[in-house]
């Protein structure tokens, strides 16, 4: 039977992967969100004089408890299937299937909420604010992927997270990001995580949800800016594998830490690694590392040891410096809290600097000014808390940077090609590129497309 390759996912196989042609259909959904650009032009409700009373606007009714538990069950099941698909079945096809399901269920049906990424904020707020009731479902969404990561690595990212699924499915022409750049940009998710926890824990804002690029696409609604950012991420995802997961996702930062200690890890070859290097080329996320031996001579060993010790020595300095910067940042970041914002507006007004404000801000300020003394006291308390949080945030960033430098200095010994534990998404692409796996699956060598073969023969 004559077979054909199907883009990035089928390029090494002689078998047809039927999911691939459906990728463009996802774009269909996202492009439809463009219609929501026009939602900004809504009319205000008509002013009826006939006595008709407009129904009162109300908040959406909370999801029933049963359905919340159903969501948790679906999450657990999806995690189970994804883990099975990666570790037992070793099938990219199953991973794609699970991704499609997760995208439809957690993405489009549940409209990206509740999601593990945003749950960081609920948990943070719940830990620092005793009056905030943390739903069990949210706890499960926060904890389950992390628990799975402790055993199996980032199987949540592989096929359960709708954000990851969306980016993975549109990846058509991957461009490799240099490893050194990846290391540098890899700090950003930890910074984002720290800032998000600071704001959530102090009750200032849920910035992860507020600035999530994919939620507007899942909901087919959102501001023009939000939709533009979402579309931009999607376009970038066509060329750079999972940009959000790699360079921004705060929950990914937690999963990285968790999967560092995972009991099991993804193994590329089902047999002995022949060091053919094909798997490293197939990974669009650049997480497959080559075999590395210990330094071969005492001079090289001394150099490694020196770099490591230097990195260790500067760690306290880095933490102290970052903590100071974090505290400075908190002086401005306190403005994210509504009480501080109102208090600042009030103080400015009292000082005679009274810039124009949006009507909603005017109303909020007028209300808050009914008891300006209490407002100022409240704001000062919040500001102090955020400043303390700023020290911790800065310290956290310094610690992450220091540990990263230590990791680079120390290196790691490997005897075969293997994915980096903290970075591997478990997408199962590398399985298809491994000749041992292909032999086990009864597949032949990778087919060379006719025009390329012709050019290679010349």
């Amino acid at each position: 039977m004559k077979t054909r390759d199907h883009g990035a996912h089928g390029k090494h196989g002689t078998k047809k992967i039927p999911c691939l042609p459906c990728f463009p259909w996802f774009l269909l959904f996202f492009l439809l969100t463009a219609t929501n650009l026009f939602a900004e032009l809504k009319f205000p409700p008509p002013e009826f004089e006939s006595g008709y009373k407009m129904p009162q606007t109300q908040n959406p009714i909370p999801r029933s408890l049963l359905l919340q538990y159903a969501d948790v069950f679906v999450l657990a099941a999806a995690l189970g299937v994804a883990t099975w698909a990666i570790y037992k079945k070793r099938s990219r096809k199953w991973v794609i299937g699970t991704s499609v399901f997760s995208l439809l269920y957690f993405g489009f049906y549940r409209e990206g909420c509740v999601c593990a990424i945003g749950s960081i904020q609920n948990v943070s707020l719940g830990l620092f604010n005793s009056s905030y009731a943390l739903p069990l479902g949210v706890i499960a969404f926060f904890a389950l992927p992390l628990v799975f990561a402790l055993f199996f690595g980032r199987t949540f990212c592989a096929a359960v997270c709708p954000h990851g699924a969306l980016q993975d499915l549109v990846l058509l022409k991957p461009i490799n990001v240099p490893q050194w750049l990846e290391q540098g940009l890899g700090i950003i998710p930890f910074v984002y995580l720290g800032i998000a926890v600071l704001f959530a824990a102090t009750g200032s804002a849920f910035i992860i949800c507020e600035y999530d690029p994919f939620i507007p696409l899942f909901r087919l609604s959102g501001s023009t800016t939000a939709l533009t950012i979402g579309a931009s991420f999607l376009i970038v995802s066509v060329f750079i594998g999972r940009p959000y997961c790699r360079f921004l996702c705060p929950y990914g930062a937690l999963l990285r830490i968790s999967s560092l200690f995972s009991k099991w890890r993804v193994r590329i070859t089902p047999d002995t690694c022949t060091q053919c290097t094909l798997c490293a080329e197939s990974c669009p996320f650049g997480v497959i590392r080559e075999p590395a031996a210990a330094p071969s001579n005492s001079r090289a060993l001394a150099g490694t040891r020196k770099r490591f010790l230097w990195s260790l020595a500067v760690l306290p300095l880095l933490i102290a410096l970052s903590a100071f910067a974090g505290n400075q940042f908190a002086h401005a970041a306190a403005r994210m809290h509504p009480d501080v914002r109102l208090a600042e507006m009030h103080v400015k007004k009292q000082s005679g600097v009274d810039p124009a404000r949006a009507p909603k801000d005017q109303i909020a300020l007028a209300r808050a000014e009914q008891a300006s003394t209490e407002l100022l006291a409240r704001a000062a308390t919040v500001q102090r808390r955020i400043q303390i949080g700023g020290w911790i945030l800065g310290g956290w960033i310094g610690l992450v940077v220091g540990l990263k430098l230590l990791g680079v200095a120390a290196g790691k010994r490997r005897v075969e090609f293997e994915p980096e534990r903290s970075g591997c998404f478990g997408c199962a692409r590398c399985f298809l590129s491994c000749p041992q796996q292909r032999m086990k699956d009864g597949l032949g060598p990778v087919a060379v497309p006719t025009p390329i073969a012709a050019s290679m023969g010349k």
């Binding site: 089928g10 090494h12 269909l28 009319f43 050194w180 002086h331 800065g394």
Partner: protein
Amino acid sequence: MRTLLTTITKFGNRVARISSDEARALAIIAASMVVIIALVMLISYQRGVAEDPLRVSELKTLRDQLHLAPKDEALMTRIRALDVQQRDRYFTRVNRNEIGAWFLAGGTVVFVWAASRWFSARKRPFLPRALTPMVEVNRNNSRARYAIAGVSGVVVIASAIIGVTQRVQLTAAPKSPIMAGAVPDGGVTLETMRQNWPQFRGADAGLSTLTNIPAKWDIATGENIAWKITPPVPGVSSPVVWSNRLFLTAADKASREVLCFDTANGALLWRLPAKLATAEAVVKMEIPELTGAAISTPAADAQRVFAIFATGELIAADHSGRLVWSKNFGKPENPYGHATSLAIWRDKLIVQLDQGDHEANKSKLYAFDVATGKVAWEAARPHIGASWGTPITFNSGGRDQLVCVGVPDVISYDPATGRELWKCKGFDGEMCPSPGFAAGFVFAMIPSQQLFAIRADGSGDVTSTHIMWKTNTAVPDITSPISNGELLFTMETYGMLTCYDAKSGAKVWDHQYEGEFQASPTIAGDKLFLFTTEGDGICLRVGKKFEELGRSKFGEAIKATPAFVGERMFVRGATNLFCMMAKGATK
């Protein structure tokens, strides 16, 4: 059915066999289509934003007019038609865009599918390669260290810069120049208000510091009279002055106007008719002849003059007589029409629009931006009925206050926001006298019944805590009280002039005059000026003993309150406008 299935199968097979060249051609066509559709949609979107139905000026104007003339059927019909037209255009555009989005999506799907086929056909297979040499690994590690240091450095430095430059300040900074005196665009300060006479009874509720205003004058001989002119249209409102411009409002059955005179010689510089929003607003309005439509005193700042008429039109014009902005409050529910005068505070024009009965809840207090006429704030005045007293502004105990009399409450507001500061309950009657302020007390009255001195440093309901003294003898029903901080004077309509100790309320002296008094008494320096409807001008010394300094005849009724600027006093009579200036005075 079978034929259809066969056709679909054949089409599917053909699509599956698409060649690399065909895929490339299809991708290019689809991409072109996507770009064209996207451009069309973008243009349509931009046009949609530009034609935002919420910003259609015509509709907005009509709706503003309807707000002021809510029963205008013709207006309603026009609004409905325009509204339907706008909604129709809007939804047509939305539908068109939705269809466009489907085409866009379809084109994109085809493009992505074809492109993926094309890419996969051109994809070179991976070939085994040598392991990365150790030198290269070390170089990469070195670069990684720099990258980590670079990114973290940017984060740390950016955080520190943001923290230093955008620091939250929760302690009040020193007062800005706006508070201290200077006003950036128009508006007034207390200093400039005192140098001019920008509103009814001036900057300090009837008190002027000028000391050389003549106590006597003679119309027949021209003694101490700088000039006298006859305005083309009559009115009972008082004059206001800014620099060398004197402004009056005037009205007859045909028109309502703002008149501007040169203070140096009384020359009429310009006259500006008040623009009407609808003809109906005038036709239905019955203004008593006694008061006329020009009863409210205008207000002025360095660039503009503001005038409101009994019929509810508010206009702002520049000093050369060009209309700057206008509003129409519609027919006021008030037996005399709108009669409260305008007040000005910094860059805000204060309009106290009390109307209807207590239960109607129609009364409101507005602050308009002097430059644009936009509402800076508005405050509802629940359970306040129609009133005619003019609000006053002052600073007491570090708080700027705007005090409005009304029935049943006298209320102090924050003039910057309209927030209520305190209120004193229990007022009644036809609230015509304006409040006075001196020595930390607001003087307000139940006309003809009781006069109250209310301490102005309270918050909330001060009725039982801040009324420092009250009296029920010879309380005016039209004129407003005047105090220099030590003594308080009241002028009862039928001639009883009473002097009180402002702080204790003890009567110092009184004097019964013959005649009727409607103009509020004013103080300039140590002189108290009184005017009668019989045309008498009386000057007394402000002191603890009754001492009349002079009495002069105008020959016509004086109902307006005079304005004092420079070394001049401007008095409006029933027919003429007079400027008094002592012999030898130069300003």
